[in-house]
Structures are given as structure tokens and as C-alpha cells.
């Protein structure tokens, strides 16, 4: 931080220094990636409205308080924002030293889920119940720690200048690091999260410059693994049914195909401008299950139409575009890998989530980043935004 000029510009007393420094030329504020920050904020606030629209009539969920979910979503956004600020404040480099601890904690948490402390929601045993009606979904945090852990392993020797690319041993170590929590999550079973993690691993490996053999090997192994999982019947019936319903939504319109069918009707009926916020009949009539979480995009599609749905996609696009730029422009491989991992995470999760509501992807329980209701997810994505900002803010130091 070269803040020398800012003192002159501001002319305020030293007690205001932190505040003014924030907006000085070349200051932290000036170097923040505002498009990402604003898009993330816009998505979170839009999400607040959509979650409110989806839940204000669901008395069985909101305990009679129609603002229950609205307030909590705002609260989550606030906490997420604070977590982001903290991450930026600490800086990703400082965090790098804490990665082993963070990784250890997150693995410990997902192991806790497998103990009687964990609870099951919608067939997946992925939650830890906390006192006060809160619950935690540690697999969301594992996504972050996998990225950080792999980045640390793969980038250390390259950033030190010892190697141009990570060697095979490092790659194996990194894969092992990712495999442990992935296996645990697979046991929950939370197939959606595992799929996201696989894509994250792929993105991380690509960005690390690991040899092509690893990349294609991993894709091949993933494919074979998927087939094996299918054939061995590791999947629960509900998971197979969801995939079957994806292939043919008319199969059982009252059963597993119901979600996809109603979601598509909701979105399709929105048209160009939508029915207007709080005026969607599908949403008001609660025809789409899980509408405040996994199917939150249907609210946008029905009530805000193509314009609203398109806006969400564009805002996500802005975040991803800027994140890609950050990955390309940072000088350290560590930062590049972390940014690329986040891109892979956000991109796949958003594509899978919106894609399933549009009927082009199978139904899995994944939240839409920033928009879906859910604390753990909200915190994790905002931490990721903090990491992206930190990478961008700290870039000049390597210069």
C-alpha cells in the first residue's frame, strides 16, 4: 500500500487516516474490483427479494413471520460481507499460512456431520444442527479449503522459482488433499457438492499448469468413477430417480418429475417481463418445492421474466469475467490457482443450479451463489469474493 499521496489529498487528521486512505488514489478502495463486489451485492439483495417472495406465504416454514427469511437472508449477506472484508483485511497471503489449520478444521466439521450430530435434509446427510435454529453445511467451506490447500501445495515451489510447473509428486499430494474431504462428502451422500469439487479440482489443475496427462487422466478417471458409482448402486434411489426424471420429466409428474415440471412451468410462464414481483401464481401458490433455496431462480424467472432471469445470469457473468481477469493478471501462481478454482466453482454451481431449473441439467441440491437462501453457502461465496479481492488488491506487491 503506497498511501503517501492520500494524506495530501485528504487533508484530514490522522485519526481519519484509515477511512480516507480507503478512497485515495491507488488506495485499497481504488484497487478493489468493484464490478465483482457490486454484482455480488446486487445478487445478494435481489436474492433477498426473491427469497422473500418465495417464503412470505409458506407459513409452515417461516413460523408465521413472513419476514423470517428476508431478515435472515439479509443477515447472512451482512455476515458474508463482513467475512469478505475480514478476508481482504487479512489478505490471502496471510491466510496462506493458516491453510493447514483451515483445512483441518473443515475436514473435522464434515466428519462431525457423519456423527449423530449431523442431520439429514432432503436425503443428504450434510448438515450440523446448531443451537438457536441455525445449521451449518460444512461441505460449503470445504470447497474453499480444497482450493486453498491445493493452491498452496501446487504453487509453493513454482512461486519460489524452483520449478516452472508442479511436478507429479506435488500433483499427487494435491489430489490426495482434495480426495479426503470429497470421499467424506460422497458418504453423506451429497453428490452435488462432490460434482462441484471435481470441477474445482479440474480447474485448479488446469490453472496450476500441471501436465496435460493429469488433466485428461483426471477427466477419464472422473468418467469411469461416475460409471462405476452408477453401476455399483452406491447412489441412493432418490438420486437415480432425479436423474431419470431429468431425462424424462413427464415420467412421474406427481413424483420426482414434479420439481422439474413445476420449475419449468414457473419460468416459462414468466415471459419477457414476468408476472411482477410477488405476483407469480406458481410462486404464490407454492407449486415449486425448495423455492427459496435450490429453485430460487424460478422466482426470478416467473416474477421478473426474461429480463430478471437474464440479469442474474449477466451479474454472474460479470463476476466470472472479472475473476478470470484476476486469475490472468496476478503474478503469483498461488493467486491464479485460487482465482481459477473459484471461477470453476461458481461457474459450475451456477450452471448446474440454473440449468436444473431450466431442465437442461439433472436435479441436485446445490444453491445458486449469493441468491439462494442458506448461511453456509452465503458465507463461503463471500469469503471467495474476499479472496478474489485480496488477490487483486495485493497484486502490485510482486511488481
Amino acid at each position: 500500500m503506497t498511501g503517501a499521496n492520500s494524506f495530501q489529498v485528504s487533508g484530514y487528521g490522522p485519526e481519519r487516516a484509515g477511512w480516507t486512505r480507503l478512497f485515495a488514489r491507488d488506495s485499497l478502495a481504488r484497487r478493489l474490483d468493484w464490478p465483482i463486489l457490486l454484482s455480488a451485492l446486487a445478487l445478494s439483495l435481489l436474492g433477498t427479494l426473491l427469497v422473500y417472495s418465495a417464503t412470505r406465504n409458506r407459513t409452515e416454514l417461516n413460523q408465521g413471520d413472513q419476514y423470517y427469511f428476508l431478515v435472515r437472508h439479509l443477515l447472512n449477506t451482512g455476515i458474508g460481507f463482513a467475512l469478505m472484508a475480514g478476508t481482504v483485511w487479512l489478505g490471502h497471503r496471510t491466510l496462506r499460512t493458516a491453510v493447514p489449520i483451515l483445512y483441518g478444521v473443515s475436514v473435522f466439521l464434515i466428519l462431525l456431520v457423519l456423527t449423530p450430530l449431523g442431520s439429514t435434509i432432503n436425503g443428504a446427510h450434510s448438515w450440523i444442527k446448531l443451537p438457536g435454529g441455525f445449521s451449518l453445511q460444512p461441505s460449503e467451506f470445504v470447497k474453499v479449503t480444497i482450493i486453498l490447500g491445493m493452491a498452496m501445495l501446487l504453487a509453493t515451489r513454482v512461486d519460489a522459482g524452483d520449478k516452472q510447473y508442479p511436478d507429479h509428486r506435488t500433483v499427487v499430494q494435491a489430489l490426495g488433499l482434495a480426495a479426503v474431504p470429497m470421499l467424506i462428502v460422497l458418504l453423506m451422500p451429497d453428490l452435488g457438492s462432490v460434482m462441484v469439487m471435481v470441477v474445482i479440482v479440474l480447474g485448479v489443475l488446469l490453472a496450476s499448469g500441471a501436465s496435460n496427462r493429469w488433466v485428461f487422466g483426471l477427466i477419464g478417471a472422473g468418467t469411469i468413477g461416475a460409471i462405476t458409482v452408477w453401476q455399483l448402486g452406491v447412489l441412493d434411489d432418490y438420486q437415480i430417480a432425479r436423474f431419470a426424471a431429468f431425462a424424462n420429466p413427464e415420467l412421474d409428474p406427481a413424483g420426482v418429475g414434479y420439481n422439474t415440471n413445476q420449475a419449468r412451468i414457473a419460468i416459462g410462464s414468466g415471459g419477457l417481463m414476468g408476472a411482477g414481483l410477488f405476483h407469480g401464481s406458481q410462486t404464490t401458490g407454492q407449486f415449486v418445492p425448495e423455492q427459496q433455496t435450490d429453485f430460487v431462480f424460478t422466482v426470478a424467472g416467473e416474477e421478473l421474466g426474461f429480463v430478471g432471469g437474464g440479469l442474474i445470469i449477466v451479474l454472474l457473468g460479470v463476476i466470472l469475467w472479472r475473476a478470470c481477469r484476476i486469475a490472468r493478471e496476478t503474478t503469483e501462481l498461488y493467486g491464479t490457482i485460487v482465482a481459477a478454482g473459484i471461477v470453476a466453482w461458481f461457474a459450475f454451481q451456477a450452471f448446474e443450479n440454473i440449468g436444473m431449473t431450466l431442465g437442461i441439467m439433472p436435479v441436485t441440491g446445490l444453491p445458486l451463489p449469493f441468491v439462494s437462501y442458506g448461511g453456509s453457502s452465503m458465507f463461503a461465496v463471500w469469503v471467495a469474493v474476499g479472496l478474489l479481492q485480496s488477490i487483486r488488491v495485493q497484486r502490485p506487491m510482486s511488481a
Binding site: 522459482g161 416459462g268 414468466g270 415471459g271 401458490g285 437474464g310 490472468r328 501462481l333 481459477a340 451456477a350
Partner: protein, 753 residues
């Protein structure tokens, strides 16, 4: 390290990052494209589906209008009953298709489980009644006679009876005022079928799934007016069916009331007398067949002569129209449609056709005058008439010498008409007809309205048949194949007939025209046709379309649409001929074949001039059909009894009793106005008040029995006389044309058909 650029990027990583970026953006592009496809391209279809998702219709059935008699007495109305019904859709969702629930329900209702299950199965080609003929999505009524206790049992334990409802419903009721059941005229209702639902979808009176549709009689003819319009409220509902808003509401419009010209009391008398006459006929010995008369069916029509309105119309055998209410039981359905019960659903007054016998003779009389013969004659009434060696005898082979056409009607002389018909047949060219054959006898029959519907406001009227040359040709064409296959020149009697028919069945032979001239052979008429004709003779020659409906009055009584009598023709007779015929028909009642029922039996002919014609028609292989056609200046009454005996013998007392009831005539000829049910046709319409109630007079428990009681002294001798006279007919009983002969001539063979 030297080839690491300033940004710290190796080209490999840089390229891969670009690939990732492109991949990510194409994923988002895919989402955008799909979103456009769903919302913009297919948006309308999904919008429609969404609205179907969340709109529920609640139907409030319209109350069906009542059917009233001329004075406002309800012949059909509605009553509230506790109806237990089952939803098929809910039952089929259960693992055992609801068997357990239905069995439990049967226990509560005190029915057999089998009975209940049969009621909820759907009708198809292989499923016998009882079965549900309506929409499978409509709750199916299991009983409409649930007690409040049973209904409570079901409603309080709703969780034990999923898919079963017990609710009060307005049900059709046929109250039979004064025991008049009027079954065939009223008709019946049954649930709307899927097919009808679809057909009526885009018309101005679409059906609802819950609708009951009139299937016959007035219920069918005036279905649209009676049905009204069901109210539909459309609610927006959520996924659990909870109402979140009201979209649209059309209130129910109750159906209109139909005022008929039927008088419930006269109807009762007519039904009672018809049934009584048939019962008595069954005790009478038929000399020709060597057994008692079967009297298997009969009909009577009481018509207002000046308007064609129906005051009473009875058909026997009959049934209880209430059997259809709330779904018909298997036993009842079998009974109503079976041969053993002789099809009581048929309204024989408009759907029963048979040879008219001598009541037909007014037509050849008019035809002869039109053909140029003088009414006064004289014409030879010989005991028999022979054509080419074939002998056609007069009734009882009795001759009357030279007489006028009027006298020929009075004494029902067949040979007079044989001769005239034969002459005309010859003039028209015989078996090789001239190009411009006059065919007076056939043309006149058509002009009298035979061979065509009278246009009564009841469905499925039959036309009868005038066996003219055209018909013979058509009939031969249709049956030639079968005749030629079956016929043998030297075979049995039937085979010989078929052989002859095969060769020349298309020709009008002399015997055909002669038989036709006295209403025999292939001639077929319905009672309503005869009533229309005799009413026309009474009113000066106007053939009215008979009507049962007199007015349609809206439920609040504000809108009244009267149904005006319409005419469909004039009798082809001059005023003078009509007057002469009228006089002759009066002669039948005073000194002819019906005198023993009227003038000679205390009828006040001077006060109420009675006109009559008797008929006894022969049907091949059956006993004779009794016909009796009568009229006064206000009414025409026609009665017929199949296999019942002679015209005045079997039907005479019944018709006389109906007149006695109408005018309040005692057997000694005194007229007591107090006993008269309807000395003048009812003119004014009953009043429907704005609240829907109807002012109507009280009808006593059984007008027929009361009428009989008022003449108690005469009942016994009447019966004696009937039995006695038919066994050995008095000279006046001239209604019978001829008896079966041992040696059958060609002419009589025509009766085969």
C-alpha cells in the same frame, strides 16, 4: 525462470486460463439461450399450463325446473336428500382400488359390498347395469337415501372413508300427484356422458360434468330450458388446493319451469281406466285363438280438440319414474328394458304403431268423396265382396243393402269401402299403374298426416306407415333378397308367401288396396296420429301439432313464454263433407257400433254431443287390436289395446269413464258439475311467484277411485255387461271387420307383415 513473463504466467497456464474463460462464458450463454427458449419462444404454452395449475372450478349445480300440470300441480320437482357418493379418482389411488373402503361403506349403509362396487364401476360394452354411465371424474352416487345417522357416521370418520362424501343434494322427484305417474311423458334423467360433454363443449349450452341430462319424454325435449345454467366459481389455489384468491364467479341460473297441458287428475283417470280395461280384457275369452285376451299393451290420449294440447297421455305397461333417480339399480334396469316386462319405457301413444282397423275408415270416406263419389251414395253393403274368386267378407257376413257413406261409417260396413277401393285401384291401372295414377285413397291418407310425425313435443315419435306404391317398391327392394332365398313354390305357407313376394312383392295388388281401405294389411298408425285426426274432425278440419308443453316460465315467474299451438295441415274435406262425416260419427255413438257405450248407456247426448268410431284390427299371428276414437266439441280421446279384443268392447267402458270424469256425468246421464274434473280445457296458466313457489290446487289422493266411487252403483253391472257382451256380441257391436278364415285368400296373406 528466464522464460517466465513479468506477470508470472507461463504460456501454458495463460492459454488454459483463456480456455477456462471461454468455457465459463459459453456455459452462461447456454443458460441465456435456454432461458430465451422457455420464456420467449414457448412462454405462451407454459403460461397456459401455469394457469391450469392454479385455477380450480367449483360448480354450483343449477336447480332443475319443475314440470307442472295445467293447474300448477308438480309432476316433476326436486327434493333435498342425503346423497352418499364416491370419488373414483380417489378410490383408484388406494392400493386395493378402494375395495376396503367400499366394503366398510356397505356396512354403514346396510348394503351388500357387491352392490356398492357395481355402482362405482364404469359402464362399457361388456359391463351390464348397474354401472356408472357418467363422467369418471364426477363423484358417483351410491345411495340417495342415506339417513342423517349414516351421513354423520361417514362424515365424522372422514379418515376412515377417504373419497366418500355424504352431502345433501337436490334430487329429481316425480311425486305422482293423485297417483298419476305420467312416466313415459315425463321421461327420465341420467348423468351426462363424456361424449355429450365434448359435443356440447362449444355450443351455447355446454354441459358440466355434474349435469343430469334428460333422456326421454319432456325431460329430454325441454332439457335446455329445464336445466338452467350451473354456476361456476373459479378460485386461484395453491399447490395444496388452498384458496388464495377468487378469479371469476358466474352465479347459477335455476332452470325454468315447464307448464304442461296435462291435468294430473285426468291423467290419473286415464292411466287407471287404461289399466283397468286391460285387466278386464284379460278375463275375456277370445273365440278365434281359443284363449283369453292377452291385452299386453295399450295407450290412451286425451287431447284438447281445438288446440291439439294433450290433457292426458297414458301408456301401459308403465313404470315408476323415480326408479331412475340417484342411479338405477340392476334389478330395475333389467325390468325396464327387458322383454318380459314388454318394454314399459316405450310411450305407446307416440311410439306404438299398429293397424288401425275401422277407426281408419274416415280416411277412405274422405278419399272417396275427393275421388268424385257422392257421400250419399247409395252403395251396396253386401255381406261379402269377391275379387277374382277371392272372397272378402263383411263383419259377421252381415249385409245392410244400399246405404250412404255415412251409414257405412255408422255400421262400419267393410264391403262398401272394398268396392270403392277396388274400383279406384282398377281406374289407376291395377297392377300396372298409369303414369298419373290418382291414388286417391293413399294421397288422402298422407293429407290426413299419416306416415309422418305429428310433430308432438316429445322425442322419438314414430311415423306409422301408409302402404302406397312407393312404399311397396322400397320395401320389396329392401327385402327381396331374403324373400327369394327363403321362398319355395310348394313349401309351407310362409315359404309360399315369401316366394310370391319375391316375384311380385313390389306390385300393388287388388287385395292390398282392398285391405288397406279398411285400415288393415300393412297400414300402421300411432294413437297420437288418430287423436290428431279425430280432433281435426271435431275442430273443423285443422290438424294441430299435438303439444304437451304449454308454457315455459322462468324460476322467478317473471319471464313467461307460451307455447302456441301450431297446425301442420288441414283435412282434405269440404265443409259439407266434414259436416256429413261429423253427423255420421255422432250416429256411431247414438245408433252405430258405439251406441251401447254412449246413447244406449245413459250418455247425455243432447247436452254433450258425442262422436265415436270403433275399430278392431287384425294382426297376423296375434289377437285383435282394440281401437276406440271419440270426440266431443272440446276433447278427442283415442284408446287402443293390443291383443285386447274389440274396439267398443275392450276400450269402450274406459273411454266412457274418462268422459264421465271430465264432464262429471253419472251413468244415468245427469251431469254433476262438482264431479267434473275439467268440463272446459284449462286456459289460464298457473302462477309462479317471484320466490319460485307455485300456486297450485290440491289434488285428492286418487281422482280415479273417487270418480269410480261417485258412480259406485254402476260399476258392478258395467263389468257384467262387458263380460257378457264380448262373449256374444250384440248386433250393435259392428266394429269387428271379419274373423280369421279357414281358407285364406290372397288378401289376408298381406297381414304377414
Amino acid at each position: 525462470m528466464t522464460n517466465i513473463p513479468e506477470t508470472g504466467r507461463t504460456p501454458r497456464v495463460q492459454i488454459r486460463l483463456v480456455v477456462i474463460q471461454i468455457l465459463v462464458l459459453s456455459l452462461l450463454g447456454t443458460l441465456g439461450g435456454r432461458l430465451w427458449y422457455l420464456q420467449i419462444r414457448e412462454g405462451d404454452a407454459y403460461a397456459k399450463e401455469a394457469s391450469g395449475n392454479h385455477v380450480q372450478q367449483v360448480v354450483q349445480p343449477a336447480v332443475r325446473g319443475s314440470i307442472l300440470d295445467a293447474r300448477g300441480v308438480a309432476l316433476a320437482d326436486n327434493e333435498t336428500r342425503l346423497v352418499v357418493s364416491a370419488s373414483r379418482t380417489d378410490l383408484l389411488k388406494m392400493p386395493d382400488d378402494g375395495k376396503a373402503v367400499l366394503t366398510k361403506l356397505a356396512g354403514v349403509l346396510g348394503m351388500k359390498p357387491k352392490e356398492v362396487m357395481e355402482k362405482v364401476r364404469l359402464c362399457d360394452a361388456e359391463t351390464p347395469q348397474p354401472c356408472w354411465n357418467g363422467s369418471p371424474y364426477q363423484p358417483i352416487p351410491i345411495t340417495d337415501e342415506a339417513t342423517p345417522k349414516q351421513a354423520l357416521q361417514i362424515r365424522e370418520r372422514a379418515e376412515d372413508f377417504p373419497g366418500i362424501t355424504a352431502e345433501p343434494q337436490a334430487l329429481r322427484r316425480y311425486p305422482s300427484p293423485g297417483e298419476a305417474n305420467t312416466a313415459q311423458v315425463l321421461g327420465y334423467l341420467s348423468p351426462v356422458t363424456d361424449e355429450e360433454l365434448q359435443q356440447a363443449q362449444d355450443t351455447d349450452s355446454p354441459y358440466l360434468r355434474s349435469d343430469q341430462v334428460g333422456r326421454s319424454g319432456l325431460e329430454r325435449q325441454y332439457d335446455k330450458q329445464l336445466r338452467g345454467k350451473a354456476g361456476v366459481t373459479r378460485y386461484e389455489v395453491d399447490n395444496l388446493g388452498r384458496v388464495i384468491g377468487q378469479a371469476k364467479a358466474d352465479p347459477a341460473e335455476p332452470g325454468s319451469n315447464l307448464v304442461t297441458s296435462i291435468d294430473a287428475r285426468v291423467q290419473r283417470v286415464a292411466e287407471y281406466e287404461l289399466n283397468d280395461a286391460m285387466k278386464k280384457a284379460r278375463d275375456v275369452w277370445d273365440r278365434n285363438t281359443g284363449e283369453k285376451y292377452k291385452a299386453d299393451s295399450g295407450a290412451v290420449v286425451v287431447m284438447e280438440a281445438k288446440t291439439g294440447r294433450i290433457v292426458a297421455m297414458a301408456s301401459n305397461p308403465t313404470y315408476d319414474p323415480n326408479a331412475w333417480v340417484g342411479g338405477i339399480s340392476a334389478k330395475d334396469y333389467k325390468k325396464l328394458t327387458g322383454k318380459s316386462s314388454n318394454y314399459p319405457l316405450l310411450n305407446r301413444a307416440i311410439q306404438g304403431q299398429s293397424a288401425p282397423g275401422s277407426v281408419f275408415k274416415v280416411i277412405p270416406t274422405a278419399a272417396a268423396v275427393n275421388a268424385g263419389y257422392s257421400f250419399d251414395g247409395p252403395y251396396q253393403c253386401s255381406s261379402s265382396y269377391s275379387i277374382g274368386g277371392q272372397v272378402f267378407k263383411n263383419f259377421e257376413s252381415k249385409g245392410y243393402g244400399p246405404i250412404s257413406l255415412g251409414r257405412a261409417l255408422e255400421v262400419s260396413c267393410d264391403t262398401v269401402f272394398y268396392r270403392l277401393a277396388h274400383e279406384e285401384w282398377k281406374r289407376d291401372g291395377g297392377t300396372k299403374p298409369k303414369k298419373n295414377a290418382n291414388d286417391w285413397f293413399y294421397k288422402t291418407a298422407h293429407q290426413f298426416g299419416l306416415g309422418a310425425e305429428t310433430g308432438i313435443d316429445l322425442p322419438n315419435e314414430v311415423t306409422g306407415r301408409v302402404p302406397d306404391r312407393q312404399w311397396k317398391q322400397d320395401y320389396w327392394k329392401a327385402n327381396k333378397g331374403a324373400w327369394c332365398k327363403y321362398g319355395k313354390k310348394d313349401g309351407s305357407y310362409a315359404e309360399k308367401i315369401a316366394y310370391e313376394n319375391c316375384l311380385e312383392g313390389n306390385r300393388m295388388r287388388a287385395g292390398d288396396s282392398v285391405n288397406y281401405s279398411i285400415g288393415q294389411g300393412d297400414t300402421l298408425v300411432t294413437p297420437i296420429q288418430m287423436a290428431t285426426i279425430y280432433a281435426a274432425i271435431s275442430n273443423g278440419g285443422t290438424l294441430y301439432n299435438p303439444t304437451v308443453g304449454k308454457a315455459v316460465i322462468s324460476a322467478d315467474g317473471k319471464a313467461v313464454r307460451e307455447i302456441e299451438p301450431k297446425a301442420h295441415g288441414k283435412l282434405p274435406m269440404s265443409r259439407q263433407t266434414l259436416a256429413q262425416m261429423d253427423e255420421a260419427l255422432e250416429g256411431v255413438a247414438t245408433r252405430g257400433t258405439a251406441a251401447w257405450r254412449f246413447a244406449n248407456d245413459g250418455w247425455p247426448q243432447d247436452k254433450i254431443p258425442m262422436h265415436a268410431k270403433t275399430g278392431t284390427a287384425e294382426v297376423y299371428g296375434k289377437q285383435t287390436t282394440s281401437w276406440f276414437a271419440t270426440y266431443t266439441k272440446d276433447y278427442a280421446i283415442v284408446m287402443t289395446i293390443s291383443q285386447g279384443g274389440t274396439g267398443s268392447g275392450a276400450s269402450g267402458p274406459a273411454v266412457r269413464n274418462i268422459y264421465d270424469a271430465l264432464y262429471g256425468v253419472a251413468d244415468d246421464g245427469t251431469i254433476d258439475k262438482k264431479n267434473a274434473l275439467l268440463p272446459k280445457p284449462q286456459k289460464s296458466l298457473p302462477k309462479v311467484r317471484t320466490d319460485g313457489t307455485i300456486t297450485s290446487p290440491k289434488v285428492s289422493k286418487d281422482p280415479a277411485k273417487e270418480q269410480r266411487a261417485s258412480q259406485k252403483d254402476e260399476t258392478a253391472p258395467d263389468e257384467q255387461q262387458l263380460a257378457g257382451t264380448v262373449a256374444s256380441p250384440t248386433p250393435e257391436n259392428r266394429d269387428t271387420r271379419r274373423r280369421r278364415r279357414r281358407n285364406r285368400g290372397r288378401g289376408s296373406r298381406r297381414m304377414l307383415t
